[in-house]
């Protein structure tokens, strides 16, 4: 079947020095004639390999038999199969390959005979994957910014409500210094905003052990009346990762980008996790450290109190944890709002 097909000239990288032999194979006119693996030939190869149960099961001999292409030697098949097998595995210098002819990326580089590119469609898919990776990183960055913006907004909302509830203007102005009328500084000035950290709420431990908030110079005594009985709400000293009972590390979080979910990966590109992973992990922290706004926002997100002993495992992940936990602190800030009056203590309390 293959014999009857003309070799395609689809490849834009057809070198003029190729000739078509009688068997339909395309050979170069180098001093040492080499077989050119055209798209169709390669597809045929892949089919044969698949028939034989995969690149590990197939042997050059069996492939040759299955393909039934005249002029194809064991030697050709051996080297091609080797490259094919390699192509199915993570390849470290994947990204280092220079782009040939302007648009092709070699999937594998081996010292064996050059085969140009495996196939154009594979390259396209590969580029698609790369493009998607970039896009995904963009999305990640945007998600972080948006979450922060939302967090900032919610904070202003809560503070306003808190002011209303406290009903004491003086208190408000002392507590939330630098807030101005609406208490929203612009992004650049968020440092102030960030450090305020809504201290009132921190005393009540939704997430942590007992806390005495020592970091904010606000008028604490006057808020004491506002703070409900701490005892009721504390829910345990140990603070596991709020975002996952399994306590995912933010570095592992990068893995969750789950490239294979992109749905565009061709079979041989599936194991791209490895070459990309390294990039992701490297890139993530720098992007998060970028800009003053992010740094100031980090104040809101850091696990501040030093006495939260065992929660500090996560402190070292702070840098990359910024996206990860936008709000455990805010929950703490919420606590004084929780009216213990509304929470019956015992199970046998009157229902309803």
């Amino acid at each position: 079947m293959f014999h009857t097909k003309k070799p395609s000239t689809m490849n834009s990288h057809d070198r003029p020095m190729c000739v078509q032999g009688d068997s339909g194979l395309v050979l170069t006119t180098d001093p040492k004639p080499r077989l050119r693996w055209t798209v169709e030939l390669h597809e045929r190869f892949v089919d044969a390999v698949a028939q034989l149960g995969g690149p590990d099961k197939a042997t050059p001999k069996t492939i040759m038999r299955v393909m039934g292409v005249k002029g194809l030697t064991l030697y050709h098949l051996k080297s091609h199969l080797q490259k094919f097998r390699l192509g199915k595995q993570p390849h470290k210098d994947f990204n280092d390959h220079s782009i040939k002819d302007g648009s092709a990326l070699d999937l594998q580089r081996s010292s064996a005979s050059s085969s140009g590119m495996m196939s154009r469609s594979m390259n396209e898919m590969q580029m698609e994957v790369q493009r998607r990776l970039h896009e995904q990183l963009e999305v990640q960055r945007h998600l972080q910014l948006r979450t922060e913006a939302q967090g900032k907004y919610i904070q202003s909302l809560l503070e306003k409500a808190c002011q209303t509830l406290a009903g004491d203007q003086n208190l408000a102005s002392v507590s939330y210094k630098g807030m101005g009328n609406h208490g929203i500084s612009d992004m650049g000035g968020m440092k102030e905003f960030g450090t305020l950290n809504f201290p009132a709420f921190q005393d009540l431990n939704i997430y942590g052990g007992d806390q005495l908030d020592l970091q904010h110079n606000m008028d604490r005594p006057s808020l004491d009346g506002f703070m409900p009985n701490n005892d009721n709400i504390c829910l345990g000293k140990k603070r596991p990762s709020p975002y996952g009972g399994s306590g995912k590390s933010p570095l592992i979080w990068s893995d969750d980008l789950r490239l294979q979910d992109l749905g565009s990966g061709p079979a041989c590109l599936e194991p791209h996790d490895d070459p990309f992973k390294g990039d992701q992990i490297q890139m993530a922290p720098p992007s998060m450290d970028r800009g003053t706004d992010l740094d100031s926002m980090s104040d809101m997100y850091e696990i501040k109190p030093s006495h939260q002993g065992d929660a500090l495992d996560e402190k070292k992940f702070e840098a990359s944890a910024k996206l990860k936990r936008p709000s455990p602190r805010r929950a703490e800030r919420m606590s004084p709002m929780i009216n213990t009056g509304g929470m019956p203590q015992g199970r046998n309390s009157p229902f309803g």
């Binding site: 998600l143 919610i154 909302l157 306003k160 939704i206 979080w253 990860k324 929950a331 199970r347």
Partner: protein
């Protein structure tokens, strides 16, 4: 209605303090794959000295009358010393509680199963073929002895809210003022006065909302998915006008503004105009009024340098939307935003939503963003099957909260009490009143009426996945249609976000 409740499939949550795996399982009655680890853990209680003789209490009861009797008899036993609610903030007592929980987790399974049986029995008694209000009353009394909305396991707290809701139906339908009472229940958490429950204290509402935001991705999912679609649709526009059906506190727009301010392609920082629909008298807001939201948004916009203006558009007294009441400006890209049924939202009557969406058709918006609850298959559509579906739905919800925050039972109980409990009551009341009539999802309505779907972009889908990645593994996002993303917990779909545009033929 035949619902197979297989004891082995039915597992209960218990607080996990082990670092091995996420141990939450759904407390629902549909098949969920159980892991051997769960069972192992559950049965380890044998190693501990049991506080009660559980052997005496186990065993299936097919006849629910017997079940009731058995509950009556051994209820005294079951109430003994099982639950140690932490009265102090001391972490020691918390871990004690957890120890006890593990010890009793096997019994928890049984107990949870019993609760489901009882609930189902009550639902049947209330509406089934052999309607028997007295029986229902008895069952509910029994249930109330067993559960509390504030402590216990997920299943117990959930059962408490369902019991409460059923109680409301029982009372509501029996009294002369039944109709009024039902409508009170269905009108949302903020003026929902159910029996002796006081309206929620403002601070509770705030706290609960904050916790909901932190502990779960539901709100963010809805907001961000809609926002991303909006951003993409208006990428080249200089003026944007968003009509928001239910703006609540306006949180959704903070992140949109941020994105607009920093957008790279297209005209920089377009002017944003938001018109919020406001309701008349009974629209008691959660945190302030629409005006306050407007002021807040204006301040926020000013702080980040976003050109912004804010308008209100009053709905009629019956909450009907009239497109003519809207002020439109030539050359602006019109977006209709419809967030329904986010966990902290009030109920909105279908008539009102219909008027909004129908009005949207005449306005020819660039984009319509619709976020709504995803309802399960309702079987024969009868009350009991929908009741069970609702139970399944909310138990998935509870589980999802617990999975992320297994230790923070009180915080979760607060969220449940403030938001979910009233929703359960309202939802059941609606099901009760409307049984047999099935409302279809709004996404379906939009499709039928002629709106065109807009594909969810790769970036949007990716954002959703990343967002969920920040929370627990159990969350998943599915693309059920080219224009629809659905957020779910484990096998249960919970929230759906879909994107539409006006029909291509304006005369459609």
């Amino acid at each position: 209605m035949a619902m197979a409740i297989d004891g082995t499939e039915f597992e209960l949550d218990f607080s996990s303090y082990s670092s091995t795996t996420t141990t939450t399982t759904t407390t629902t009655t549909t098949a969920t794959p159980t892991t051997s680890t769960e069972n192992d853990r559950g049965c380890n209680w044998n190693d501990w000295s049991p506080m009660v003789d559980w052997e005496a209490l186990s065993g299936a009861h097919d006849d629910f009358q017997d079940l009731i009797d058995s509950m009556m008899d051994d209820g005294a036993l079951m109430n003994q010393g099982i639950r140690l609610t932490p009265d102090t903030s001391n972490s020691m007592s918390t871990s004690d509680t957890l120890l006890v929980d593990e010890e009793t987790s096997c019994s928890d399974d049984l107990k949870g199963l019993r609760l489901v049986h009882l609930l189902m029995a009550a639902a049947e008694a209330l509406t089934g073929l052999n309607k028997n209000r007295d029986l229902a009353r008895v069952i509910l009394v029994r249930l109330k002895e067993l559960v509390s909305p504030n402590d216990g396991t997920n299943m117990e707290r959930l059962a408490a809210h369902f019991t409460d809701a059923l109680q409301g139906l029982l009372e509501g339908s029996g009294s002369i003022r039944g109709h009024k009472h039902l409508s009170a229940i269905t009108n949302g958490p903020y003026h929902h006065h159910h029996r002796d429950d006081p309206p929620h204290h403002q601070s509770d509402v705030l706290a609960a909302f904050q916790l909901l935001q932190d502990m779960s991705p539901y709100v963010k999912f809805g907001h961000f998915t809609a926002n991303q679609a909006i951003l993409e649709a208006v990428a080249d526009d200089r003026r944007i006008h968003i009509v928001d059906y239910d703006i609540m506190e306006g949180i959704q727009w903070s992140s949109l503004m941020q994105a607009l301010v920093t957008r790279k392609d297209g005209p920089p920082t377009p002017h944003l105009r938001i018109t919020a629909l406001s309701r008349g008298g009974n629209g008691r807001r959660s945190i302030g009024t629409v005006q306050e939201t407007g002021r807040r948004l204006l301040a926020f916009a000013a702080s980040i340098g976003q050109p912004f203006s804010f308008h209100q558009c009053r709905l009629d007294s019956d909450e009907t939307f009239r497109p003519s009441a809207l002020k439109l400006v030539r050359g602006e890209a019109l977006v209709m935003n419809c967030m329904l049924q986010l966990p902290h939202f009030s109920y909105r009557a279908p008539g009102s939503v219909t008027s909004f969406l129908s009005g949207a058709k005449t306005l020819n918006p660039r984009l319509i963003a619709m976020v709504e609850e995803e309802v399960g298959p309702v079987g024969d559509g009868g009350f009991v099957s929908r009741f069970m579906d609702s139970l399944h739905h909310y138990s998935a919800f509870y589980d999802s909260l617990e999975a992320g925050f297994p230790m923070q039972g009180r915080a979760r109980a607060l969220v449940e009490r403030v938001f979910l409990g009233p929703r359960i009551a309202g939802s059941l009341a609606r099901i009760y009143r409307a049984r047999g009539e099935e409302g279809c999802p709004w996404a379906e309505w939009l499709a039928v009426v002629g709106f065109q779907p807009i594909k969810i972009s790769f970036a949007n889908h990716c954002q959703a996945k990343l967002l969920l990645g920040l929370f627990n593994d159990g969350y998943r996002v599915e693309e059920l249609a080219s224009n629809r993303l659905v957020l779910g917990w484990k096998s249960r779909r919970l929230l759906s976000a879909s994107i539409w545009t006006s029909p291509s033929d304006p005369y459609l």
